[in-house]
């Protein structure tokens, strides 16, 4: 039987189709807004139609389609960042009812209302819920989180890696650079001269050190993690582990890098 037959598919107009397309009731939100960098933050309440299985991003989409506040007064759409909506790009991270997480994966049915949306705390606000994570990405530079390959030419396969080590590395490599671990960490004090780098960059250093090629210059990453803002700033509050959307064993990473650094210092001392 060939599937290439004529058929007449009539799909009903928007809003009248299957159950998941029909709104029932409403969702209440309150959003912390800020018009520009350095501006004064203020709260604004919204009420949007409720759809089955709805997430926080959909609420924000409803607001921009009909930008009125809870009293029905016209306002500007809330600015927020989103892209993949599958919890893999990391960009839509914000504080939802006080907890830092991806707004795409925050389902309305699991949240107490009014749902409070705030920008991440440890990064400067550009507008409303849009923040600037430069600090996180600068930290990746500091810890040299890359394998120093010798060009893109065809040099054959990389080193063999036992599957169990590979699995350990893969678990770490699922980090989406959302910055939740940095945001939730009490040791990250943003107005310090050299704030703590936070868990993600340390875990990236561990990942690169697991790789046989990365291990060849592991000591560069040790040096980067010593000194102000480095690994010794960790206060073991464990908040990072609690908020990581990918359940990455961040405390294990910090402990592992600590051990590696201690061993490295000891060996250096013995050499002297």
């Amino acid at each position: 039987m060939s599937p290439k037959t004529d058929m007449d598919i009539e799909i009903p107009p928007p809003g009248t189709g299957s159950r998941r397309e029909r709104a029932e009731g409403s969702v209440r939100l309150t959003v912390m807004r800020q018009d520009a960098p350095g501006g004064a933050p203020y709260w604004q309440a919204f009420e949007v139609p409720r759809y089955p299985n709805m997430n926080v991003v959909e609420c924000l989409m409803e607001i921009r389609k009909n930008p009125v506040d809870a009293e029905g007064k016209r306002t500007t759409p809330v600015a927020w960042a989103a892209n993949c909506l599958e919890e893999v790009c990391g960009i839509c991270t914000m504080r939802v009812n006080g907890k830092v997480r991806q707004s795409c994966a925050a389902l309305v049915q699991d949240l107490e209302e009014p749902i409070r949306l705030e920008p991440m705390e440890k990064f400067p606000v550009k507008r409303d819920l849009v923040i600037d994570r430069d600090r996180l990405f600068d930290a990746y530079k500091r810890v040299k989180a890359w394998i120093p390959i010798d060009g893109t030419y065809d040099l054959g396969p990389g080193p063999r890696i036992p599957e169990d080590e590979r699995e350990e590395g893969y678990w770490l490599s699922r980090c989406i650079s959302c910055g939740a671990c940095v945001d939730a960490c009490p040791q990250v004090v943003t107005d310090a001269d050299t704030p703590f780098v936070g868990a993600a960059p340390i875990s990236w250093a561990r990942l690169v050190n697991i790789h046989p090629t990365g291990a060849m210059n592991a000591e560069e990453r040790y040096d980067a993690l010593m000194g102000p803002g480095g690994i010794s700033d960790c206060g073991k509050a464990m908040n990072c582990v609690e908020v990581c959307p990918k359940s990455i064993p961040l405390m294990e990473s910090i402990a592992s890098m600590n051990r590696q650094i201690t061993r490295h210092l000891l060996v250096d001392w013995l050499k002297e």
Binding site: P3, P14, P77, N83, E86, V130, R133, I176
Partner: protein, 584 residues
Amino acid sequence: MSAGPRYVVVGGGLAGLMTTIRIAEQGHPVDLFSLVRVSRSHSVCAQGGINGAVNTKGEGDSPWIHLDDTVYGGDFLANQPPVKEMTEAAAAIIYLYDRMGVMFNRTSEGLLDFRRFGGTKVHRTAYAGATTGQQLMYALDQQVRRYEEEGLVTKYEGWEFLRAVVDGGGVARGIVALDLASMKVRAFRGDAVMVATGGPGVVFGRSTNSILNTGAANSNLYQQGAKYANGEFVQIHPTAIPGRDKRRLISESVRGEGGRVWVPRDGGRWYFLEEWYPAYGNLVPRDVAAQAIYKVVYDMGLGVDGQEAVYLDVTHKDPHELDVKLGGVLEIYEKFMGEDPREVPMKVFPAVHYSMGGLWVDYDLMTSIPGVFSGGEANYEYHGANRLGANALVSCTFDGMKGGPRMIAYGGGLESLAADAPSSLFDDAVAEQRKRLEEVYAMTSGSENPYGLHEELGEWMTRYCTVIRDEEKLRRTDEKIGELMDRWNDVALPDAGEWVNQSVVFTRQLWDMFELARVMVRGAIARKESRGVHLRPDYPERDDANWLKTTIAEWTPDGPRLSYEPVDVSLVQPRPRQYKKDIR
């Protein structure tokens, strides 16, 4: 500033990043532009893997068979020489990622493991769990950061490409871009420009694409005179989770690892793909699977619980093996649907996924605007009328591998450089784009909401320009697009803010989406045959005598002017395409 040529890369996905690395490693400076921080690009959404014929499983695989599968899977619409180049480079690309530290799954010997994907009979797909795209992206992101530290790469993240700057001789001399935070417009000089800005899935409203994949950069180049090829060929992925915000992809690797598609029938389970296509079973190519699911659901009324859904079932598989090989994708289902796919079959339905069409490029990846190159999903180069699973990651990486050196060769051969071009050329280009932006800012008195108009566009495009293309309905859709374009002029901009004004940006992109939608719809009306994803019930057969040719769209104010050019089938003779039995 270096005295030699300067290079611009637009797009922070795999194609753009690999292009950047290839140029920077030759010691040339690169300005890299991306809407978002590069590691947020849509390439991170690729799940299943990357193809390369390594033949490590004793199946006799080779780059030639990979070429054959690719052009056969693409229903012979791709020019074959570039496909051959790509399949010959594929294994080395995988090994390069391996050297960069990608945590690919391994065999018991610690070597790379490979799995099966759709439209092929061999294990050709390297994978890192089910987050392969993300792993590859981070590998390239890290290498680019190295060059950033060395001062060779300057990133402009949070910038949108608006136009190429083209001189009186028609040659590109740089770009105009918009800072999405400050809303400032600026020109950048560049002797060769790579545009690798991904696909246009958002033209269809909800798709598996990330929500920034509007195709606006491509559309702006098209409106500027670049040729756009095979626009009507848009792939529908057979298995996605319906949602109001987007369609979430459930990777083909789920079927590659033994997942089965079925619907309830007569109190039992009907594995219709296995019955209809015994040679490939659940691993038929995506166009075939999507069309079969439409037939089962709409024609035969056998959707699960009467809904637009079929089952994708892995409950018979070992849960630990599933976690190791498919973890990321099963997590998405669990998180967004609240059901564990290890226990309960997933409910899925086809969704817009990938554009085989894109900017026309020559075999050096240069568009019809000299100096502007295109790579990745943004061009039309490799996938013909249907893309095979796990060929996207290899094609976009290959475009970077190839594009970087081709841009350097082009830049090195120029007699005069952008640095010497008169500043008035750039000032005028900026003034023109600033004026366009101010026109959007001035849209205050209308009555339409841009997001509402976009929803209408998406509904119409998804309804009438996806799996089944009925000529009359396509014509109505074309009229509808015209109506939406008229109504666009009546937009009431909801935000006058001068900082991070997303409404201004989107309203502009919306127009660009209309222009591309017209290319897709008019191309689909004109092509009177069925080939790959393009299924015309009134012309159900492939027609090589009349339609073995590439559609070329050129912009006019009244919509695209279509012309055609022959397809280079010099390597593999076209043959009928069917997946019921083997006929290689």
